[in-house]
Amino acid sequence: MRIRNFLLTLVLFVSALAAHAQITMTASVDKTNLSLDDELTLTVQITGASGNVLMPQLPSLPAFNVYSREVSSMNINGQTSTVFRYVMLPRFPTKATIGEIRFTYNGRVYTTQPIQVNIYRRVPAGRGPGGAVQQATASSGGNYDSSVSAARSAGNIPQELSATDALAENNREKSFFMTAAVNNTSPYVNQQVELIVRFYYSRPFAGQPPYTPPTVTNIFMEPLKLNTEGSQILKGKMFRYIEQRYALSGVQAGKATIGPAMVQFQPGNNDIFSAFDRLFGGMAAEPEQLVKSNSITLNIQPTPAAGRPASFYGAVGNKYTIQAQADRTRVEAGESINLTITVKGSGNLKPTADLKIPQIPGFRVYDVASDSITLPTGNGTQTTKTFKTVLVPTASGTYTIPALAWSYFNPSAKRYVTLTTNPITVEVTPSTKVDSGVSFTGGGQNPGVRRLTNDIRYVKTDPYPGDIGWLVSVGSLQVLAWILLILPIVCGLGMRLGAGSLRAKAPLLAAKNQLKKAVIEEQVADAVEEFLLKRFHINMGSLQLRDGLEQLKQKGVHPDTLKAFSTLWQRLDAARFAPENLAAADGRALAEQALAILKRLDTEGRL
């Protein structure tokens, strides 16, 4: 009996030792770096303790408010594991220490190692919570935490989105509802607006309900990130919500509408049957319901025309930067250079026009190809837009790709801001390739001559040689033109009226002059003879009177005139061979008689 009692005691002791030896306690947090907007989950797991397990004793936590406790236990391979989960909200930025957590079991005290946690105003970039998932990414019936007894107030809701809270407050009587809110209802064209759509629920629902995003008009909409989850207390009632954010930008000035988003779901139940149902992996389901968010109307404003620079391509936002980069700066003539211009900033650059690259002297510039990437950030999006083009230098030399301007409208300052790229110097060496370079003028050129570009010729430095001076001088003499025009007319008229007849009249004039001076018959005879010779080429000195009269007749002289001439000539001929002593008065009368006859001959006779 003694032995049996001893063995029993021994077995119990060994069992107790074994049981004591199997108890382990661990404490862990889901993140060690968090911001004031975050919540921290502390998990304490006790394995090996059976029966009623007391709550572990938390140390003093002045940096946190513990608002949720959850206990769960499970049995794996006959070993009980109890998990205590505490959801805590940080109170102020500090380097907090979660001290030893104490757990007493069977009179023995177990403790955990202290845990260091850094609390920031905002989690610094690149210092994430060590791979821990901050928030769940999928919503399901199982994600509903009915044990949540306290909640933070509007934890991660941006200040400008307080409209969401107001909407949520109005719907707090419902178990399920949706809200939609934007941070700006009067944005400029292309200015980014953030839309937050939330599905609130205070009861569980089954499965993953289908979500229909809002339909929009006159708006470019892009989801920012995967849906997130949170909780909010509305008038003492705890709600969980699933949130989806969108980046919106107005396409044209005017009205823009955001239609309702929808969720179709099957609500769960909290009654005893449903708990029983859940025990077997199911859920007491109600008929399907559909909830819709509110519609929103935006008033899209145009960017001001005043002061709008030529380099404005439609970007609206702030904190933009620009950078130009060439893939190489030493090339041969005819080789290509890839020029990349990168614009970064907060806002949406997708709908903006492409940067126009002007003709760069010395280069052949090809069309620009653009690409943009929008990534969500802590409070909005970061857009990177790249413009790529190919430049081909046409000749050797040192060239500069000039600074390129790109402007955006800053809605906060309500003014345009112009950014410029850095100029890039490119060294171009002569082409070493036989058939390198690009021909910019078609065919028809001499072989070996490749025309690269067609520029204006250089300025003139020599003095202007002037027009052909004497031609200009002659041309300026207006009077001369009139003289030259009149001269032939004068000649024509003169010849018509006088020049020919003047010549014909010359013998008569000469005879007239002679006869004026004649006082004796011989002088009269000489004058008449000379007239006939000059006027009619008849030499009366070598002709008989009869022959002379015949020739005059042939010249068209009237017979009466011939008769008078014959009488005159006979008298003169007689006087030549038998001179008379004439008085001066008779001599003058004879001369006048002769002049009258000569005039008649001159008039009637032909040349």
């Binding site: 204006i456 300025v459 003139k460 027009d467 052909i468 004497w470 031609l471 002659v474 003499l477």
Partner: protein, 240 residues
């Protein structure tokens, strides 16, 4: 006193000549350095002393071309071309500036050689040629009238006079044409002299227009290359 006046006059002429040369070389220096605006100022100063120098207009046109003011470049090249039409550089630059604006110096269908021949002489020179032809013809005609000789020469002289006269007449038509060029980057052509009339066409800088009428800072024009007619604001054009 007269002597003193003459000395001062000579000194003034000399000083003007001395200053003109450095100004021109300074302008060229600015131009070669890419300071086109500074070069333009100097050339425009030079124009005040030599208003009929085609080379100054040419250089001004070059500055405007490099500064991107294609309309003003065309206007100044055209002025230079009218004064020195057979200068190859002026013709080249005017042609290039007009082509940039979508215009053509040589009318479509006309052989370039014929256009060059037509503009072989300046208008002043052409007047001189016509005068010489007239003189020769007049004298030959007088000889024929008096002597009835050199009839063939008279006919040749008449032909020369008719050709030179017709050439002068056609060139005079060009000279008398009130040409202007669109100087602003864009200009609207409207159906009436005011903004209340609808715009019928948009013109870019460098387009040549023929002035028809003017009213209240508006000019009625015909676009030379298109043949379309309308009213354009006076400040949008530069008269040549």
């Amino acid at each position: 006193m007269k002597k003193l006046f003459c000395i001062f006059a000579l000194l003034a002429v000399f000083a003007a000549g001395v200053n003109a040369q450095p100004a021109a070389s300074q302008a060229e220096q600015y131009y070669s350095q890419g300071k086109f605006s500074a070069a333009l100022n100097l050339y425009e100063d030079e124009l005040k002393t030599a208003p009929n120098n085609p080379y100054v207009y040419y250089n001004i046109g070059n500055c405007y071309f490099k500064m991107g003011s294609m309309g003003l470049a065309v206007a100044n090249y055209y002025r230079a071309f009218k004064l020195a039409p057979r200068d190859a550089d002026i013709r080249h630059n005017l042609n290039l500036a007009l082509e940039n604006a979508g215009e053509h110096l040589v009318p479509r269908g006309m052989p370039e050689v014929l256009h060059k021949l037509f503009f072989l002489l300046s208008y002043s020179e052409l007047k001189g040629v016509a005068m010489v032809c007239l003189g020769i013809f007049s004298l030959l005609l007088c000889v024929w009238l008096i002597q009835r000789r050199w009839a063939k020469a008279v006919w040749i002289g008449l032909l020369a006079f008719v050709i030179s006269g017709a050439w002068l007449y056609l060139r005079r038509g060009q000279e008398m044409q009130s040409l202007a060029v669109v100087a602003t980057p864009t200009a609207e052509l409207r159906s009436g002299p005011g903004t209340n009339f609808p715009a019928s066409a948009n013109l870019t800088h460098g387009h040549l227009v023929i002035l028809q009428d003017s009213r209240n800072n508006w000019n009625e024009v015909v676009v030379k290359s298109q043949g379309i007619q309308g009213w354009i604001k006076s400040e949008s054009i530069e008269k040549i």
